[in-house]
Amino acid sequence: MNNNNIITIEHIAKIYQVGSETVHALSDVSLTIDQNEYVAIMGPSGSGKSTLMNMLGCLDTPSSGKYDFKGKSVSQMTDNELAKIRNREIGFVFQTFNLLARSDAIHNVELPLIYAGISKHERRERAEQALVDVGLKDRMHHKPNELSGGQRQRVAIARALVTRPSIILADEPTGNLDSKTGEEIMMLFNIIYEKGNTIILVTHEEYIAEHAARILRIKDGLIESDSIVEKRYIPNLKKAVENA
């Protein structure tokens, strides 16, 4: 284990009981993710990729196996400890944005800082900076329903970045966007990656996964393949417009 190591998973499994049936969502998965990696997790629905993502995001704990996050064992953590890890170490980006509808952009971005106990002044400053970073300088006081889909996802990304987390966990971030806007969002992720952040991208679309540097393919609760992308696709807005 090197110092750059963020996530270490050894032989984890997740078993659900659905009625009388036992579902093995994850059977035996081991992997490590280092700092400043750009990993795409791919797999058809029902493959266990969502379960893996929830596990990586500390939203769920494995039934068996070992999960260390920055050297700390997550498997044995209480709800409160998990909440703290999610707050400090993980930035979530969801397919459906999940913004608070009644709050403006800046308040949405501030939210994780409130739970982290950051003072009002610093909160405001950091949230403003995060919104500037995603190109929403002029939209800070707009409510989600006054923003386009792409802008909403940018707010969500700002919210994920504002706590300076160890990993960004994006679950189908372009799933609800048209291809041009999706391309814009992928460009933004590229910039974030190049700044030194670690990104885990969950998707079922090949061309989205190709933006990443490493692709993990999941099938039937097992890792089918774990490969480095030879020629990473660097998003180009012009091309995206032509394709659309």
Partner: protein
């Protein structure tokens, strides 16, 4: 601690936003609490108001005065048994007066209900008392005009009258009543005195301000025959501490006058304010318990309504709860948020209820003297807070215990 404060502020903000976003729903939900708090405050205020006016009224009876009467005010003795008692006659009083050494003053009282007129003004069903000039010594009467009739007027059964403040107000709206001639049951009387206001009884029809006093001889001559009716003997002790001794003496003398053997029961009763007080307290106690139960019930119904709406609110915001948990809200933060929300609804409802209660009590004040007290205000706020916490507890717990994965996936 700092985190807690931020979270509290955030929760407060969320609560207010949620309430504002669902205005109609919030108001409808609040209605239960508004009604509950209004009834609690009114209940407390009304009981206090009744209590005050009763205390004021009862003090006109005097805590150091005994009322020797054929009738007991309150007792377990059967009504027919008391009815069959011999009347107390004026002659009994004369003997009593001679023998009693302990009282400060004694006076016989004969009652009748009469109509009183002055010019075009009239008062129906006035409590007419016939007594001696000593009567005033058994009371704490003060006069706004004139005086009580004197011994000469009393002994010679003159046609003079002392009127209560309410009668004065009704007969003489313009003021001065002294030396005016009023008609009591058709007979002319000269007004020699007007009493100060004494406060009215709520229970029963007796109103000390609606009384008229005339010499006892005059009442016998004009309204009740000497052998009809029964006299009440008012006996005032020298001090409240002396009342038990005075009572014992009065009982002995009365038994003697009535010629009772040692094994015979008293065929008279000695009443005092204390008995009235006890009786009043037991009546008001029942009213209080009943009122408390009813208002408690309405608050409970209100609480259920809020609990219900909080469950709906939690369900509606499942996804939001999931998100908050995903970005680091702890279980207790979510718990606090929803309890705060229901408490806020209840507090706002409580304040509205309080305002309604104050307005209503101003209206009621026209009939019964009432005043909303600080205690009631405090009670209303505490109760609405408690109801809020109680109603929010179960829904908030469901929210706090939600699995973030399931909550995020909820559509």
């Amino acid at each position: 601690m700092k985190t807690f404060l931020f979270e509290f502020k955030e929760s407060m903000l969320i609560a207010l936003r949620a309430i504002r976003a669902n205005k109609i729903r919030s108001i409808l939900t609040m209605l239960g609490i508004i009604i509950g708090v209004t009834s609690v405050v009114l209940m407390v205020t009304a009981i206090k108001g009744i209590d005050n006016s009763f205390q004021k009224g009862i003090s006109s009876l005097g805590s150091d005065v005994l009322y020797v009467d054929k009738w007991a005010w309150f007792s377990n003795t059967d009504w027919w048994k008391m009815r069959n008692r011999r009347n107390i006659r004026i002659q009994d009083y004369e003997k009593f007066k001679e023998q009693a050494k302990l009282p400060l003053a004694t006076a016989p009282v004969m009652n009748s209900r009469q109509v009183i007129k002055y010019g075009d003004n009239r008062v129906e069903s006035v409590f007419l008392n016939g007594s001696t000039s000593d009567y005033v010594k058994t009371t704490n009467f003060t006069f706004q005009q004139g005086r009580f009739y004197n011994e000469i007027e009393s002994k010679s059964s003159r046609y003079v009258a002392v009127i209560g403040s309410e009668i004065f107000k009704n007969l003489f709206p313009r003021g001065d009543a002294l030396d005016k001639t009023i008609k009591i049951g058709g007979v002319n009387f000269k007004v020699v005195g007007v009493l100060d206001e004494q406060g009215s009884f709520i229970l029963g029809s007796f109103n000390p301000d609606n009384q008229v006093f005339i010499p006892i001889g005059t009442i016998f001559k004009n309204f009740i025959g000497q052998h009809m009716g029964t006299v009440t003997i008012n006996v005032r002790a020298k001090s409240p501490a002396m009342i038990e001794d005075t009572k014992a003496e009065a009982e002995g003398i009365m038994r003697n006058i009535r010629g009772l053997e040692y094994d015979e029961e008293n065929d008279f009763s000695i009443n005092q304010q204390e008995g009235l007080m006890e009786n009043y307290n037991s009546v008001v106690g029942v009213i209080q318990i009943a009122g408390l139960f009813i208002t408690g019930l309405s608050l409970f119904v209100g609480a259920i309504g809020i609990m219900n709406i909080m469950f709906v609110s939690v369900k509606e915001r499942t996804k939001e709860i999931g998100l908050r948990k995903a970005i680091g809200a702890k279980n207790r933060t979510i718990l606090g948020q929803f309890i705060l929300e229901s408490s806020t609804i209840c507090l706002v409802g409580g304040f509205i209820g309080l305002i309604v209660a104050v307005l209503l009590s101003l209206m009621i004040n026209q009939f019964i003297p009432t005043q909303v007290e600080y205690g009631a205000v405090f009670l209303a706020i505490i109760i609405s807070l408690l109801v809020g916490v109680f109603a929010g507890l179960a829904p908030a717990y469901t929210a706090a215990k939600m699995d973030p994965v399931d909550a995020l996936r909820y559509e």
